[in-house]
């Protein structure tokens, strides 16, 4: 929460000053007041502790107010915060004894996804996680967390090892998306992701996935199929970036706020939609303000989820995993549809959930024939 010591007044116009995001401007002012008071106290020797304490309380309540009602676009900003803890931080804070295993055995070692053996709580696991990098050079090395096909193939290789040696898999997701480049296409990034989706659905070992920051479309889903899928409270998971969506549907990136809203990309919305099954709480003001607390919450979830899924027989687990995936997506099936002659569609395979029925009532301009 420290503001940068050398920040000049002019720099206050920047989007993220001293770690404060745009929407956190009120916090920046209070923080500056506190620093002013502390300086004055140090220089004049006057006792300003009471005022400082008041300001700190104000800071906290403002923080609480801001974070209790983050808009989707604000959530996106928090999830992309330059100081937000990364997979590599959790590898130190949550996991122990990380034994990294490199390479996809086909083409290379994609640094955008780290894989290896690790321990968490009482569990030995296979770890698969996007790595974005913190410092400039590190970020370039891991391609900002945007994996090539090698990253997905390396992940699958690790998952196969996990299956063979009966280790559960933990996937930590944090990416803008798979890398859109010539090499990616030449080496079949679509095929690599598709293969992971298919194989993860039937991997004969438990899989627990957590989105910790950005869940960027297919590049996130490519290591995101499992028995449990959770998100950190202020992470987001989206079919397309708000900027990309705005550019396509509104024809201008300016509408990214509306796009973020429309896409229902927050953990809360996705839990409601049944896309994820758990939200891991973050400390007041977001994961970056207290990485250790976030790590504790993440560890608690991962350890419990693993204990839970490990209790099931693998066949039960696989059946439930399939059922979970199979039920994704609501739709409305007109009951007036003539039954096919053998009657097996529309009966056993009908998946019109009660949620779909509820949603149907919202379809005021709907085109479905009223039955």
């Amino acid at each position: 929460m420290s503001s940068e010591p050398n920040s000049t007044p002019g720099a206050a116009a920047a989007a993220s000053v001293g770690g404060f995001l745009d929407f956190e401007k009120p916090l920046l002012r209070i923080q500056q007041d506190i620093e002013e008071l502390e300086r004055e106290q140090a220089e004049t020797g006057r006792d300003l502790n009471e005022e400082i304490k008041q300001q700190r309380t104000r800071l906290k309540s403002t923080l609480r107010r801001l974070y209790s009602s983050l808009t989707p676009w604000e959530t996106v900003q928090v999830a992309r915060h330059p100081k937000r803890p990364l997979s590599t931080d959790y590898l130190k804070l949550v996991f122990r004894d990380f034994c990294e295993l490199h390479g996809d055995r086909v083409f290379g070692d994609d640094r955008a996804i780290l894989t290896g053996f690790a321990r968490v709580g009482p569990h030995k696991v296979a770890f698969v996680g996007h790595s974005k990098g913190r410092e400039v050079r590190e970020r370039i090395t891991c391609n900002f967390g945007c994996a090539h096909p090698e990253g997905y193939r390396k992940s699958l290789r690790l998952m196969r090892l996990a299956e063979k040696f009966r280790l559960p898999v933990v996937c930590i997701i944090d990416t803008q998306g798979a890398y859109p480049g010539i090499g990616s296409e030449e080496r079949g990034v679509a095929q690599a992701i598709a293969t992971n989706l298919m194989e993860m659905s039937r991997l004969r070992t438990p899989v627990v996935c957590v989105v910790i920051g950005e869940g960027g479309s297919g590049g996130a889903l490519g290591i995101g199929v499992g028995d449990r899928v959770a998100m950190l409270e202020h992470a987001f998971y989206s079919v397309i970036s708000p900027e990309g969506c705005a550019a396509i549907l509104w024809k201008t990136a300016e509408h990214r706020k509306q796009a973020a809203e429309a896409l229902h990309l927050t953990a809360k919305e996705l839990l409601k939609l049944g896309i994820i099954d758990h939200i891991i709480p973050e400390p007041l003001g977001g994961a970056h303000r207290e990485p250790e607390t976030t790590a504790t919450n993440l560890e608690k979830y991962v350890v419990e989820a693993l204990s839970e899924v490990k209790r099931r027989t693998i066949d039960t687990l696989l059946r439930r995993r399939y059922e979970r995936i199979r039920a994704l997506g609501s739709f409305f099936e007109s009951p007036s549809e003539p039954k096919p002659e053998d009657g097996s569609v529309g009966g056993t395979h009908r998946r019109t959930s009660s949620r779909a029925a509820r949603l149907r009532n919202r379809l005021t301009t709907g085109t479905s024939p009223e039955s």
């Binding site: 679509a190 194989e199 297919g218 079919v239 796009a259 997506g329 007109s334």
Partner: protein, 268 residues
């Protein structure tokens, strides 16, 4: 595209959108909507495709009346429900994929055909569900599955509900695979993004029409990211064949024959 074509009175000359030559429309239609000058394969709607592909009168459609429920209450410049309604009125289709059972040269198959004319055959919950049902049907009835893919990718207006259809359809393919079923993909223009990165890439055998665009990321996105021009022929069926992701490039006129041939080798 096919709409305009359909509207042209028979016997008229039209200009090929690829090579620019004037072509006799009737001949192009007889050539299955392939340019008689340059061989350009026009995009065709699902009904035209089915008519071209299956034995006359053999198609029985499944799951006709599945409708989107607009899970997000999505609205951009137009409400999603309105967009759907317009597409339905314009195309006469309920959604962007048609599935059913048919015969191809006397071989019984489960067939799925995506409709590039319906919101670019983007995959929302309904498309995902219908594709999944087709896959399940093939496993249940022990029939080969033929999936003619064409898609701009996930349907943004359904947000994450659309993205997870990639997982759903791929999981269904895994089950078909375990049942020993034959799955033939026919990738047509354009097979991209979320559909390319799920069931369209999972066929036991992947055929592609000449010149079809096949790829994951949009070419403009790639060009902007790498800040360079894309090589000639990038993300085409031929490019995918060269890089090992397509088994055979098959001209439209040979599709029936090639599908039947593969079924005779691999089908049950």
């Amino acid at each position: 595209m096919a709409e305009q074509v359909r509207g042209v009175p028979a016997g008229l000359w039209t200009r090929c959108e690829k090579c620019g030559h004037m072509v006799y429309e009737k001949e192009v239609v007889e050539a299955l909507q392939v340019c008689t000058e340059c061989g350009y394969h026009r995009r065709i709607d699902a009904r035209t495709r089915i008519e071209q592909l299956v034995d006359p009168g053999s198609f029985e459609e499944f799951a006709v009346d599945l409708h989107s429920v607009d899970p997000l209450g999505f609205k951009d410049r137009m409400p999603y429900t309105e967009r759907l309604k317009r597409e339905q009125e314009r195309t006469g289709e309920v959604e962007a994929v048609v599935i059913g059972r048919a015969f191809i040269r006397g071989r019984r198959v489960i067939l799925g055909v995506m409709n590039p004319n319906f919101i670019m055959a983007s995959m929302g919950a309904v498309v995902g569900e219908k594709v999944t049902r087709a896959i399940e049907r093939a496993a249940e009835e022990n029939l080969p599955l033929v999936m003619v893919t064409a898609s701009g990718g996930a349907r943004m207006q359904e947000g994450m509900v659309s993205l997870v259809q990639m997982a759903k359809t791929s999981a269904a393919v895994a089950r078909l695979d375990e049942a020993g079923g034959l799955y033939i993909v026919v990738a047509t223009d354009p097979t991209t993004a979320g559909v390319a990165a799920s069931f369209a890439s999972l066929g036991d055998v992947i055929l592609a029409e000449p010149g079809a665009m096949i790829g994951f990321a949009g070419p403009r996105v790639i060009a902007n990211t790498i800040n360079a021009e894309l090589p000639e022929g990038f993300q085409t069926a031929e490019f995918m064949l060269e890089h090992g992701f397509v088994d055979r490039i098959v001209p439209r006129a040979h599709l029936r024959r090639e599908i039947a041939r593969i079924i005779d080798y691999a089908g049950k």
